[in-house]
């Protein structure tokens, strides 16, 4: 069964450093998402991406964040200058569509745990 993959599973970085979190969505999916979950808290939407453009972003997704689909398979989240409060689990998700039947189901990756020290 196709699945969303994410690398690395755990990333430790120092405050102020840049990190890139990588995701490989399911191959025929067109819509991509990043969510984050601070330990013990709820999952929060960061950004959605379609047709090489950001479709929607939350207020969390400030200028320190960027997303990119550098090739036909990868979808990346970059944090330019990490802060302590960026420590969280970051989930990538993808879907075939955004509405209608089951095509809009978002499949989540296993997550990347980011620890900022």
């Amino acid at each position: 069964e196709p699945e969303v993959t994410q690398t690395p599973s755990h990333q430790v970085t120092q405050m102020g450093q840049e990190v890139i979190l990588r995701c490989v969505p399911i191959s025929n999916h067109l819509y991509f998402y990043w969510y984050r979950q601070i330990l013990g808290q709820k999952v929060e939407f960061l950004v959605s991406f379609y047709n090489n453009e950001i479709s929607e972003k939350s207020e969390i997704f400030d200028d320190q964040f960027s997303v990119e689909r550098p090739d036909g398979s990868n979808f990346t989240l970059k944090i330019r200058s990490t802060k302590l409060e960026d420590s969280a689990m970051y989930f990538c998700a993808s879907s075939e569509a955004t509405s209608g039947s089951s095509l809009d189901e978002q499949y989540f990756g296993p997550g990347t745990r980011l620890t900022v020290t």
Partner: protein, 114 residues
């Protein structure tokens, strides 16, 4: 703005018994979807069940069923014949019909006692 509230931070159930997890939401939209996701200790997010707001019939998936009360904006999850593998964090989520982003509740930690 849409919000999702889960008022039970923790729940416990005996193996083979039934448990109900509560969720309420707020929206001014009439067309939307509601979901329950399971997050086991591995932290992978797994879709358990979904409900389309325009459908009056409650969704069911094997041992999982929902009680969807649109007027009350309530969406509870019932797990029947609970199994040890059901132990996890459960998140209720909302999505506007035409939109992509999921809005999650705070989660309910379910433990299953043997």
């Amino acid at each position: 703005a849409q919000t999702v509230t889960q008022s039970q931070p923790e729940m416990s159930v005996q193996e083979a018994e039934t448990v109900t997890l509560s969720c309420t939401y707020d929206t001014s939209e009439s067309d939307y979807y509601l979901f329950w996701y399971k997050q086991p200790p591995s932290r992978q997010m797994i879709l358990v069940i979904r409900q389309e707001a325009y459908k009056q019939q409650n969704a069911t998936e094997n041992r999982f069923s929902v009680n969807f009360q649109k007027a009350a904006k309530s969406f509870s999850l019932k797990i029947s014949d609970s199994q040890l593998g059901d132990a996890a964090m459960y998140f209720c989520a909302y999505r506007f019909y035409q939109g992509g982003k999921l809005i999650f509740g705070q989660g309910t930690e379910l433990s299953v006692k043997p």
